[in-house]
Amino acid sequence: MKNLLRYALTRILLTIPMLWILLTLVFVVLRIMPGDPVSAMLGGHAPERVIQQKKEELGLNRPLLVQYFDYLGELARLDLGNSMIFNQKVSQPLLEKLPATLELTLVGMGFTMLIGIPLGAYAASRRRTGRDFGIRLFGNVAYCIPVFWMGLMLQLFFGIWLDLLPIAGRTGPRVYVADFQKTGFYLLDTLLAGQWASFADVALHLLLPSLTLGIVLSGIFIRLTRANMLDTLKADYVLAARARGIPERRVVYGHALKNAFIPVLTMLGLQFAALLAGAILTETTFSWPGMGRLLVERIYLRDYPTIQGVIVVFAFFVSVISLAVDLIYAAIDPRVRY
């Protein structure tokens, strides 16, 4: 237990330099690289005087080092600054959109695991058969399909041709968000408010985008689960379980799968980053009002503080998730310690 505590502390301390490097990277990309936000914002023909005035106002005329420490200081106070285009704090649209992205990502992750882990385990138990080959092929193909194309094809099939599912937004026209909105997680909100019709509507809207994310990312999980299962299926305890006459199904899905699960868990943490990236593209495809769409919209408007804010939030999430996964990993597997 004392060891675990020491590991946890070390790991938490190591998150700080990682976060700092990411935040510095964001600063370098958005402030030091070529491209002048102010002239871009005011259009090409703004007089020099106006540009200088605006720069002065935004503090972009100060030495870079001063700007850098200011930026870190503001972030430490959880202040993301003000939008350059709208009269609002950057944190305001972020807090509105974050739940939408998280809801999409979490449900997408659920689909990924639901598809990937059983298929991977099944493929391993039927190694080098036609079914194994078929599942591996599906995994490789799924991995190579751009998530936005998968989304568009599902829209075309289920939304346009079959006309079964909605293809855009989080709610339909007959649902009033204000009636139930509390946390921003609509599935949860509609449940808490007890509005079943709205819940069904929200769930239907969520189905295609999250399934898109789930299918595309399931490829990695199929492959990883399969590889790990092949290792565990060769272990002595599996042989022992078989020798005792335990049904094959229980050996595979009970004994072996449980032990193959730890690397899969680590992968889940790593894939969270990929899911967030996939969410950006999925949101663009499904007009999903989340962080990704916010980022793309503000890039068109050249609202640099908001762009920076979105990326900082992503960086923060990635660091926290990787920390959480490592801690869970250490708690499960006592071999992992510093």
């Binding site: 080959f133 751009p146 829209q155 075309l156 041709w161 950006i280 593209l281 495809t285 068109y300």
Partner: protein, 300 residues
């Protein structure tokens, strides 16, 4: 001079060994061999399309008077026409040049930066290694696409800019792989023997470690191009990639998206299928190579 000549000989020897292994592989590995061949065929065909698009394309990809607007596939237009009456098939053929060029250039650029850094970091160790690893690990953990979006948004549209944006996010991939390999090869007996007979650091790194590291890089390079293809497509799908006037699959896809609600299926089906098949081609080549070049993986 002796060092560089030696390196060239060992590179040629390595290439010969690779070809030898591949030709004997056909007999040993059934499925893996055909996966490799299928990938190679897709890639070679796409390279041909990119190199000589005029020989295949029935129309000019920018010609806005090839026929009716938004016409479904027919014998005159096997993949239909888009909203500006351009021939979709011709746009697909010419578009291969953009995506293939960007993905290749980006993968080469990131390997040229990532491999030497990884070699040095693994070989030298110490503080250099720790700092470089920390930076690369941080970038690696961050969603690559978001980083590429940030770069592309700052640099503005253009072929060179999009290549840079894609290249940046794959530097850590090469760095981490090469560093890990270098660390383990550094422990090998033949490296210790070289050191014992007084070989210089540069010779050890160039002639003993590098040729052994590069074998694994080939596999990653192929998989990396597959990834770069999808990142390029994603950037131009979002609208960050290229100025109008350059045919590009990702851009065509985002254009087709606008006409999806009216059931125009050909404007999204074909560009997306092209992206997927090309990415799949590079993945299959990489998979096939890794199974054949690294037989230990086959035990699984």
């Amino acid at each position: 001079m002796a060092g560089t000549r030696g390196a060239r000989y060992s590179a040629a020897g390595w290439l010969a060994r690779l070809l030898g292994r591949l030709t004997t592989a056909r007999r040993k590995y059934g499925a893996e061999w055909w996966i490799l061949i299928a990938g190679a065929v897709v890639i070679l065909f796409t390279i041909y399309m990119a190199a000589f698009p005029q020989t295949l394309a029935p129309y000019d990809p920018l010609d806005q008077e090839t026929g009716p607007q938004l016409a479904p596939p027919s014998s005159a237009h096997p993949m239909g026409t888009d909203n500006l009456s351009r021939d979709v098939l011709s746009r697909m053929i010419h578009g291969s040049r953009t995506i293939l060029g960007v993905a290749f250039a980006a993968a080469i650029l990131s390997s040229v930066i990532g491999i030497p850094l990884g070699l040095l970091s693994g070989f030298l160790g110490g503080a250099v290694d720790r700092v470089l690893s920390l930076i690369m690990d941080s970038i690696y953990a961050f969603p690559g696409l978001i980083l590429a979006i940030a770069f592309a948004a700052m640099l503005g549209p253009g072929v060179v800019n999009i290549t840079l944006s894609v290249a940046v996010i794959y530097i850590p991939t090469y760095f981490r792989l090469v560093r890990g390999q270098t660390l383990s090869i550094k422990q090998e007996l033949y490296v210790e023997a070289a050191r014992a007979i007084g070989a210089r650091q540069r010779t050890i790194l160039g002639r003993y470690i590098f040729p052994n590291v590069i074998a694994t890089v080939v596999v990653i390079f192929s998989l990396n191009i597959a990834d770069a293809i999808m990142t390029e497509a994603a950037l131009s799908y979002i609208g960050l990639g290229l100025p109008a006037g350059i045919p590009d699959w990702g851009m065509d896809l985002s254009m087709g998206k606008k006409f999806l609600p009216s059931g125009v299926w050909w404007m999204i089906t074909f560009p997306g299928a092209m992206i997927s098949v090309l990415a799949l081609g590079f993945t299959m080549l990489g998979e096939g190579l890794s199974e054949i070049l690294n037989p230990r993986l086959l035990e699984k």
